[in-house]
């Protein structure tokens, strides 16, 4: 409980940000702010009133990854399709936030061109996927087109098409052939229309009374889509559609059975890649960071891919083997191939295939010892601030606001006799900076034994010996990164935060207080059920109200 008190302090500060905690205009506000934070979300446990307080999910489009996967799944083609599509916007930290996923002319044009190509291929190829099952005589155009198009519509829309939709798509074909086009041309237009339809492009959950704010259970097809886009970034497969058709997905046991089948499917790597890369923010910094070639002459950009593979395999291991969530931070093992082992200074392994290795006695633990975390750095040197920010924001859900203007946010590289630790300590003498940096710097400095490209080192850029010791704000003391990991991993605060991130990813919106209350209950429940692991958390989420129900928008 002693530690919980300390974690509580962090969360108090997090409520409206450390800026207000140590207000840079009026530092005397400190005491007032502290009192005002006593109702923070970390303490929400009972009476979530979730049904009344669900966040409304707007109609959002599939993101680019989901569009590509869906196109491949419904056509059987293996093309990339989306390599030249624009990057998706990030909302609430993830690229599947439905509010952020709007439409614009650029993307719609790409969808139209892609749909045009796919449609003409589908209509031409007699062998592909058994789609072209008939060659009609003139009086059988509709019958033949229906046998081809109606099943395709069901796959594309992830639900059975309505009768008017079925009729209208046949009219596209018959209008075309009546005007003198070939049957294949008529089908091409129909395929094109399906692939440009909002029912294909968007995830649509219609409410009976949109203007009245009311909560309802999702129907089985809606649940199927939520589940498959969450785990596979793709459409439901035949088995899932069949459970949707029978209504089975309304049943908790059947839903869990589908979940367990789907998470064991190779396609579940979609969830791992999307979730982890956004959770740890490396989709952004790892892709754009260009380590300075003068300082790191041996650096190759291909190492970035090794980092991503390592983290994916590591997360999959924990997930598939039901290892405890704390292992995300404190596991004394990882996955490397020969190149990565050499980069990390770990004992050599054979070949380019990844194998599981123990990391002790090195200081690497869990994701905290992996390049995909450690490359939160500058191009030429480490940034304890960036790493500390990631620990606080991604792992502990502490809200750290932007630095105020007029303060130093970049520090000179350490020079002999003056380490980064000393630079940061001097900087924290300024109360304006100290509010946040008291939180950021200690965990950030713990990783100073790893340079800006994740290699082990004992001296900093200025040749000073590394001192990675410190104390978590209000928490335990450590002498290096390996000792920090077991201070963070087992704590309730990390588990709660991890579940909050999973939740945000899974329900596609930023959580409100009632939903954070659900997060806390889920985090408690998985411990109570002896399922304090990744799948245990996901099970709590898919059974939760925000995942299985939706609220209509109402009249604002």
């Amino acid at each position: 409980m002693k530690y919980l008190g300390a974690v509580g302090l962090i969360i108090l500060i997090a409520g409206t940000g450390c800026r207000e905690f140590v207000n840079y205009i009026n530092p005397e506000k400190k005491e007032i702010s502290l009192r005002n934070k006593l109702k923070d979300h970390a303490f929400l446990r009972n009476s979530c009133s979730i049904d009344q307080n669900l966040t409304f999910n707007p109609i959002g489009r599939l993101n680019v990854r989901q569009l590509g996967n869906t196109l491949r799944a419904i056509t059987g083609y293996t093309d990339n399709f989306t390599s030249e599509f624009p990057e998706d916007p990030i909302g609430g930290g993830f690229d599947n936030n439905l509010s952020a996923l709007g439409m614009d002319a650029l993307l719609l044009n790409k969808l139209a061109l892609t749909g045009e190509n796919v449609a003409s291929r589908l209509a031409r190829s007699k062998e592909q996927g058994g789609l072209m099952t008939c060659v009609p005589t003139p009086d059988q155009v509709s019958t033949c087109a229906a046998s081809i198009l109606h099943p395709f519509m069901e796959k594309a829309f992830r639900r059975p098409p309505a009768s008017d939709e079925k009729a209208r798509i046949l009219q596209v074909v018959t209008a075309s052939t009546s005007a003198g086009d070939t049957f294949a041309e008529g089908l091409t237009s129909a395929f094109e229309a399906i692939l440009l339809s909002p029912h294909f492009i968007y995830r649509i959950e219609l409410d009976p009374n949109p203007a009245v704010a009311e909560t309802r259970n999702l129907d089985s097809y809606e649940i199927a889509s939520r589940l498959s886009y969450m785990i596979w970034n793709g459409p439901p497969d035949t088995a899932l559609m069949s459970d949707a058709a029978s209504g089975n997905l309304q049943n908790e046991a059947a839903l869990l059975q589908q979940f367990n089948r789907m998470i064991a499917d190779p396609k579940a790597e979609q969830f791992v890649e999307s979730f982890v890369s956004h959770w740890l923010e490396y989709h952004h910094y790892l892709d754009t960071l260009q380590p300075n070639s003068t300082i790191f002459p041996a650096w190759k950009n291909s190492v970035k891919d090794l980092f991503k593979t390592e983290t994916k395999l590591f997360f999959q291991d924990l997930m598939n083997n039901n290892l405890p969530t704390r292992n995300l931070l404190d596991a004394p093992f990882t996955y490397v191939n020969n190149a990565l082992a050499s980069h990390y200074g770990l004992p050599a392994v054979d070949g380019s295939n990844f194998v599981k290795v123990n990391t002790a006695p090195s200081l690497r633990r869990g994701i905290l010892g992996q390049g995909s975390f450690l490359l939160a750095a500058n191009s030429d040197r480490t940034s304890p601030v960036k790493r500390g920010r990631l620990v606080q924001m991604a792992l502990l859900c502490t809200k750290i606001p932007d630095p105020p203007p007029n303060v130093e946010t970049d520090f000179p590289p350490p020079s002999p006799g003056s380490s980064m630790r000393e630079t940061l300590a001097a900087h924290r003498q300024n109360p304006v900076c100290a509010g946040c940096h008291d939180l950021l710097d200690p965990p950030g400095l713990a990783f100073e034994n790893f340079n800006a490209i994740g290699e082990y080192r004992t001296q900093d850029e200025g040749g000073n010996p590394i001192d990675a010791s410190g104390q978590m704000p209000g928490g335990g003391a450590f002498t290096n990164a390996a000792e920090l990991a077991p201070l963070l991993g087992p704590q309730e605060e990390f588990r709660r935060c991890f579940v909050e991130k999973l939740f945000t990813y899974s329900v596609n919106h930023v959580l409100n207080d009632a939903e954070r209350c659900e997060v806390n209950q889920a985090a408690d429940a998985m411990v109570g059920l002896d399922k304090d692991n990744i799948k245990g958390a996901l099970e709590r989420i898919i059974l939760s109200t925000p995942f299985r129900k939706r609220k209509s928008e109402g009249t604002p």
């Binding site: 709007g102 492009i201 500058n378 203007p405 946010t409 970049d410």
Partner: protein
């Protein structure tokens, strides 16, 4: 010659949904021009006037910027920072002392300046401070979209927005979606295009040869078939729209606007002289190594496409962002020194003094080096702008050049980047504006009502700020006046376009404006 004319029009007919695969580049022969256009090309009619808004992130080395002196008739001295703009000095107005008050987020200055700066600059509003995309509110359309919404329908593409990366700094106060320079309304940002190939497709993508058949019948068939696809999906979207709440209706409107644009382009003819459809750029936004293109290479691709689009009258409104506000781009390849634009250089930590100079005596050598390099980055940006303006000036149009029928507005959303100040912003207006801009033979104007000592983050100290949006109002009036004569009675929707453009010409306020500037009259 009749056949030539027909074929040429077909080639230029736009169909965004069709024919996207085969692109050609054809020189325009005088004989291929329809007779009416020949008269146009000869210069006897009003020319379209184009607007380019150019945004530079992270602020300026203000001491260097301030070296430009005040004067008219080109009697002023240009700062070395903008020396590359010297060839345009007599068609250019440099503004000192303009403020963007919304950048400060009054009444209480809030942190997160980089996150709100593009919206504050171009919309004249304080964006609602949120990291949640469901709560975004940019306050209203940006100035370029006011132009686009008035007369954008005259061209194939109403407006286009180009930026070199998706970088959004490390702001946790403002959603990354706020890092856009152009807003259709309070909640919808215009797509920020990184990929030069996308810029090409958006501007010229329909200018392609039908892949099958020749002549009118093949084209008519393509149009008929595309129309049936668009009709189907429009019906889907309209049916959905009737069944959903307010937010989702807006969602469907976003979709439908894109569909309507395709439909319009299906039947739109582009009738511009001096147009050479370029070939599609080979490069995406990143090189084969996955790293973003060099900044100068990338901007040059954008500027080249914009100049070609102007010649084809494919669009008249162009927005450029050198990079996202707060971008930590490294410019080592371009300028030879390591470090990050935002973190290392804009936050050089050298404080600016009341006289607008930097307190280098109180700074470390490394800080002074970073400050100087920051100035180098600013100069580098102006070198790229000078490339753009030079190309415009080298491209004849009628009896003059494209530069004569152009309004370029370059602005830095922050003045002193280190202190995140939004007053005394570096602003330059360039180009003839189709005869509507009077640069007084080349001028640099200072607005002394803005507190000259207020170089820091103290907007309250500015007793009578002269607002950047007042300049926007003036430019709206000018471009409205210049555009009216180019609206022909034969154009579709000409009456609505004319009336919206007349409204621009008499615009009285925009964002936080409280008047207009007379310096360009």
């Amino acid at each position: 010659m009749k056949n030539w004319e027909i074929n040429r029009r077909h080639l230029l007919r736009a169909s965004a949904t069709g024919m996207g695969n085969l692109m050609i580049g054809l020189p325009l022969l005088e004989a291929m021009l329809p007779s009416m256009e020949r008269a146009y090309a000869a210069g006897s009619e009003a020319k379209p006037v184009r607007f380019a808004g150019i945004f530079m992130p992270n602020g300026h080395h203000m001491q260097n910027w301030n070296q430009t002196t005040v004067g008219t008739n080109s009697s002023h001295t240009l700062s070395p920072m903008i020396a590359s703009l010297a060839p345009f000095k007599n068609q250019m107005s440099i503004f000192k002392g303009l403020d963007c008050i919304p950048g400060f987020a009054p009444p209480n200055p809030l942190p997160g300046d980089h996150g709100r700066t593009p919206v504050a600059t171009w919309c004249g509003h304080v964006p609602y401070r949120t990291a949640n995309p469901a709560q975004i509110n940019a306050g209203g359309p940006s100035i370029d979209q006011r132009f686009a919404q008035a007369f954008g329908a005259l061209t194939r593409k109403a407006s286009i927005q180009m930026c070199t990366t998706n970088a959004a700094g490390d702001s946790d106060s403002y959603a990354p979606l706020y890092q856009k320079c152009s807003w259709a309304n309070a909640t919808t940002g215009m797509p920020k295009i990184l990929d030069p190939r996308d810029v090409f497709d958006q501007l010229f993508g329909g200018m392609a040869v039908p892949t099958s058949g020749n002549g009118d019948s093949a084209l008519a068939k393509i149009r008929r078939r595309k129309q049936s696809v668009l009709d189907f999906v429009m019906q889907d979207a309209k049916a959905l729209k009737s069944k959903v709440g307010l937010t989702d209706k807006q969602r469907m409107d976003q979709y439908l606007e894109g569909i309507y644009e395709m439909e319009a382009n299906l039947n739109k003819e582009i009738t511009a002289p001096q147009c050479t459809v370029p070939s599609r750029p080979a490069s995406g936004p990143t090189g084969s190594d996955g790293v973003y293109l060099r900044l100068d290479t990338h901007m040059k691709l954008f500027f080249d496409l914009a100049v070609l689009a102007m010649q084809c009258d494919a669009s008249r409104i162009f927005m450029f962002m050198f990079d996202g506000e707060g971008s930590n781009r490294s410019l080592t390849r371009e300028l030879g020194f390591p470090g990050e634009w935002h973190g290392t250089f804009s936050h050089h930590s050298v404080s600016i003094m009341d006289n607008g100079t930097y307190n280098t005596a109180g700074a470390t050598p490394q800080q002074v080096t970073n400050l100087n390099r920051f100035g180098e980055i600013n100069r580098f940006c102006y070198d790229q702008i000078a490339y753009f303006y030079r190309k415009l000036k080298e491209t004849p149009e009628g009896s003059g050049t494209l530069f004569d029928n152009f309004i370029g507005l370059s602005v830095s959303g922050l003045a002193d980047g280190n202190s995140h100040s939004h007053n005394n912003l570096p602003v330059i207006v360039a180009g003839g504006g189709g005869g509507t801009l009077n640069h007084k033979g080349g001028q640099c104007v200072n607005y002394p009502s803005s507190n000259p000592k207020d170089w820091n983050h103290k907007y309250e100290a500015s007793p009578a700020p002269v607002r950047l949006t007042n300049l926007f109002v003036t430019l709206a009036q000018k471009i409205g006046q210049a555009t009216l004569p180019t609206i022909k009675g034969s154009m579709p929707n000409h009456a609505a376009i004319r009336s919206a453009t007349e409204a621009l010409a008499s615009m009285s306020s925009f964002g936080d404006s409280n008047g207009r500037l007379t310096a360009l009259d």
